[in-house]
Symmetry: D2
Subunit: 434 residues, 4 copies
């Protein structure tokens, strides 16, 4: 079994790397993955998957941190120019850039694999040492870059798709390959979960290149310590007036927001664990002699657990509301991202580890999960799966990294991609045969 | 006419001074003037005035800054021990310490005179230079003192009462002698106004010793520039919890109040004139390691006009409310005092000046009103009289002052009291004969 | 005398209007008046004035609110393309855009006239009703417009220059025509004053179209009630850190600035008169999950008098400094503008009025000065002149205005320009002959 | 050995309980333990201990949270009336209420035992169920009560003192019995440590009734998780002025303190562990219409470790200082208490456990230390001992508790006292024989 998988995947390795380079060259930020999603859809369709697209898998009103309509339109045009699949791209218009490929293969468990597909708003390095630049596949889109490895995730996903079709006699059950937009800023998972795509999933896997597995050959079979987080923007709207002539006629949004900031940071620490709050940006006012009538705060809360994050978020909303009331200005809060806390299932961790050891791809398979120490909206899917009685795990696939995640110099070792494909395929077969 | 009045008032001068010294010895703070009011009532009754007492002239639920029930009871007992009139004192029980004496004397205008009767919470000087102490009539009540001249005002009022009876053939109309409690802290006038005592008054006069008339022989025939003011207390109530073990379980009243303070002082200046805000006291919390569940702020606002003060007060209430909401604590605001802005009527100013010049009592009668630069709840009466179509003026009676108003050394020249009596009597006769 | 002046100025009216239209078409904001100043210099030179340029009349290190070097360079290039005088423009390089024309005409007093030359950052109206647009001389520079009438002031100044040369047999003494940059934001006068240009001036006049003289034919011969003002920017610089992973390692500039804002608005009201404070803009932070390491506040204070404004400014600086200290962030405050309070001299007001009445140009010459109710850095010159024993006045020249000052629709009646020229010329002759 | 100790201690049990009841009846709060300390000194002296008193063992200038001089004097008088030992009490005058009894018994290690002796400011219950009240030995001192078990600690200490003398042939070395004042508020240990009393100690034990050992027969042989804490008071002093007439002349201490409060709660969370801050009390101002010139904040910080607490304290001091500067008011910070974090030595924990198991007094001896989850200034002694190369442990002695610590109903089971004596005596003998 192992040998057959190894052999097949090694054979398609160049194709997998090709996918990666193509997506790397045309990176698309969250909710604008028009080209990316259309190509994924085309490939899955051609492989014989039952595909679900756009509004089928993205619930409209829960998309967080959506760009403006005009920005979405511009990106749609751009994507078409950059070779989006003309037929499939239509389904994503308006920013519904999710794709799910389903393979029903007889009686058996439903296994989900999630791959995130968006890029980061970073300008890619043009240094000689930067491999994608040297090799001519660095980003052609200004200030957007696959600097978190999602290009590799898509490539793994398409590799898995091909291999599973090849080995569909080796397992029973249903596989769902979930390609999720807008993971950066933890914005996309919620809309997919709310559309129901993981409701029937018994076993769910997420995979990420690098993170705490910083060397090729390392494998971390699970995670704990996802920080729950909420990202939101607050907009205060007051009334301008001349600051010298009639200051009392104004409704001071800048002052309301300043009062909010102080009181936000004053939210009480919590005895149950660590919490965080940050106001990352503050932009307010027009002219020096005008009572400022607008203010915009960019905020995030975090907590060791979802409960702790909820506590922070709830208190923060109340403070924002009261600060606005205090100065008689109006307030709009816009949700920009959400992630839950979450922990990989112990049994699945063992299963992943067992299969990783079987392959000759890894020289350092960790026994236990590692602390992520960050946020990922995969947790939304984990939570839903758990509520429905299923299990989930998040895998860190080791690779020799260049630069840190989200830096202009970020790169990974392409030859590790095939290991991800092999591990996932083997694990699916293993589960379905239990 | 002048001569007859001069002669009579000179004859009763010692009696007037005797009144003053008696009231000075037994000073009573706002709403506790049980002895004072009972003696005023007795004198007016004996002179033949139709008297109205207690709840007849004090509207219950608008008394501002009322002491506690037990304090009122204790003072009632004290007053009886100090020689309150046993019959009349009963009407004032519970702090309804107002008296109005009415003299109906045929057809004619209704003229009101207002005398305030309360003392200040100041410990009287025991210095050799302090005349009341030297002469043995200084305060026997601890930390209460007639250090604003209201003892003199009562004495003038009783002198006027006697003289008017004597000269009741010289004028036609109705005279109302209004003895008002709790002027200090601007607490008492509202309750008298709301009871209707000035609703039928055509001409209303208030008189005050000293202020901007700091020399014997000076007379300021009117005022402008009463500052409108509101006095109120804010009580925040939250929930205590252990600051180390479970800080998030507390609702922090101290923090809410601190936030309120900063935002209160941040209320915008107003282009229409001067405004003020002050938080004079802040008392909160119990123990060092307890999230503080209570906070008490002592606040006042002021404005050049009632509109400006209303602006400040309205903004302040909103800020207090929002600060409480912000920390999920409850808020109670208690009104403690109110005064309006107000301006003396030009015509009455002329009349007072004319009559002052006729008397040989004044060597320096100002032509115009002076700016008070402070607050007086006489303004409540002025406002009501004006609304009903009448006119009013506030007179400053010159006297060589010792110490400043409200100081332990305050004293005035007793020989100026008779001038006040003469001026008021003459003015009433003058008006009624027009 | 009157007739000769009238005749001559009427004759050059079209030239004056031509100046105005040219400057209106090429408006230049403060410190970038390269084209404007070079043309003024050329005209004065050709008329025979002794001219002083650039660093001779602009003290380097006291220029307030200077644009960046690159902006200055770009505007310099632009000016040359737009027809700046090639010879003279060099003197202004780097933003020293002041010009003074001196006419020494025998023994006599030194008389200064000040004309401000900069435009406002406003996009000019393209409405049919907008005269400059209809006539084809509206601004060709994006988002810059002569919407305060300074184009007219320059035109008046050049008209006066020509007329004075014509009538140099009619007066004795020295005239200084002072063309000042950067009046908007009250930034330019200080640098001219510090260079000494008004140190020898005995009589100084400023003139402004419109303001409180909103009709053609009106003339207000002086002002009081310039509000003293200070404009300054505060830059807080802290240290970024990851808001989730290591919040304590950051030094939060946004929080320091928010604390500053609340405390700035809390500066106590002043019993001596009106004061103002405004934080017109607040820009801080980079990303949502980064402890913000930079914050920029745009601030102004005002006061009825320079003392009151100094009180506000001093308190504000202290609060900014302490807020920075509080969060261990560094602070830089940059002065952006300053104006003093000031009052026109009574004697000069009479003189102006007298001469205005002599001309048949005005049908409504006010007797007294009017309250400006705003700020003007002409006050810096007034103050210096007064210190040196001289006198000054600020004249408001009536004109039928369209739109309000600083609006996109602002316009005045060009036929009022000649009245300004006549009045100034006549007044200079009047003074020098005393 | 065990039997002899058991027998002797059982014999003196009544005496031990008698001590406890006497101290319970005359409780004395921190630094006022004049009677308590004098009686301890007398007993130790009579037993033959070398005693060190007052300033010998209490470093003057590091006493934290000292009462006022007059309060110390009053309590001294009270103590004498309540039977303080006349000879020894003199040494404690002024609040130097520490006692150390030393027994030099040949060559061997120096072993220290620490007993805290102060009571809490709580009014003792007069309920029928309250054993001390029923038995007639409840507190005769108003609002002071031994409601934390320190009366029992002293009784154990005196029991140990007697037993050690009895068994002085069984061990070699030096024993120091350290009776420490003012543990409540973590105020007293620092002054003893600074006097050098534990500098020569090789093994140090502290013992506390109850806490996490809530049942008779339980024994917790050590602790971890002392929270480091700092207690301090901040006094702001500004300048009063009339809030209506001249608000700008005041220096507003209340406003400075309010600003401090908001910013104190805004101190950033720390990634290394839990921190706390609380402002437990806020008292400021005099009258409603006076700019408040004084403010007093009662503050504490905590941290999982001393480093975390130091971070909080350092940030807090800076914020207090900057808030004062901001309003130009002066600041005085007074240290009121300090405790370090600390952990019991593993080897000593084993030793205590071993000896506890040998005795037949305990039916539930824990294997490991427990988390204290609070603060104790015993940590100061632990730290010094560790610095000097010694070891220390803090023991929790189980007892059936009534009420919680510091409640009016607190009580413990007196029959557990002898177990404490036995355990300590046995452990000393054990150590000295190694």
């Amino acid at each position: 079994m192992i040998n057959v998988i190894n052999e097949f995947v090694d054979k398609i390795e160049n194709k997998i790397i090709g996918y990666r380079r193509d997506f790397h060259k045309y990176p698309e930020a969250g909710w604008t993955e028009f080209r990316t999603a259309s190509i994924i859809a085309r490939k899955l369709y051609e492989l014989g998957y039952d595909i679900r697209l756009g509004k089928e898998v993205i619930k409209d009103d829960v998309r967080l941190g959506l760009p403006s309509k005009s920005s979405l339109n511009n990106h749609y045009e751009r994507a078409i120019k950059q070779g989006a699949d003309k037929e499939f791209v239509k389904h994503f218009k308006g920013g519904y850039t999710g794709v799910v490929g389903v393979l029903k293969n007889g009686e058996g468990p439903t296994i989900g694999l999630r791959f995130d597909i968006d890029a980061v708003q970073v300008k890619e390095s043009e240094g000689k040492e930067h491999f994608p630049y040297r090799e001519g596949f660095s980003s052609v889109n200004e200030e957007v870059m696959h600097s978190c490895g999602h290009d590799g995730h898509i490539a793994i996903g398409l590799g898995v798709a091909e291999a599973l079709m090849k080995f569909n006699d080796k397992f029973r059950g249903t596989v769902k390959l979930i390609f999720q937009p807008a993971e950066e800023g933890v914005r996309g998972a919620k809309a997919m979960v709310e559309s129901g795509v993981v409701d029937d999933v018994d076993f769910l896997f997420g995979i990420h290149i690098g993170l705490k597995a910083k060397k090729s050959g390392e494998l971390v079979p699970g995670t704990k310590g996802f920080l729950a987080t909420s990202k939101f923007d607050a907009y205060f709207t007051g009334k301008p007036s001349h600051a010298g002539a009639e200051p009392e006629a104004g409704k001071n949004a800048l002052l309301a927001a300043s009062s909010a900031v102080l009181n936000l940071y004053s939210i009480s620490r919590h005895s149950k664990g660590a919490t965080r709050i940050n106001v990352g940006k503050f932009v307010a006012g027009t002219g020096r002699n005008v009572i400022p009538s607008n203010a915009h705060l960019v905020i995030e809360t975090r907590g060791d657990t979802s409960e702790l994050n909820d506590y922070m978020k709830e208190r923060a909303y109340k403070i924002l509301k009261s600060s606005a009331d205090m100065y008689d200005v109006s307030l709009r809060i816009e949700g920009m991202g959400e992630a839950e806390s979450g922990t990989s299932d112990k049994e699945l961790i063992k299963l992943i580890r067992r299969n990783a050891l079987k392959l000759n791809s890894f020289n350092n398979v960790y026994k236990k999960e590692k602390d992520l120490g960050g946020s990922e909206d995969f947790t939304y899917m984990m939570k839903r799966v758990k509520e429905k009685g299923g299990k989930s795990a998040f895998i860190m696939l080791g690779s020799d990294l260049k630069g840190s995640h989200h830096s202009a110099e970020f790169d990974f070792n392409e030859s590790d991609l095939k290991n991800g494909v092999k591990l996932l395929v083997l694990s699916i077969i293993d589960i379905s045969n239990k």
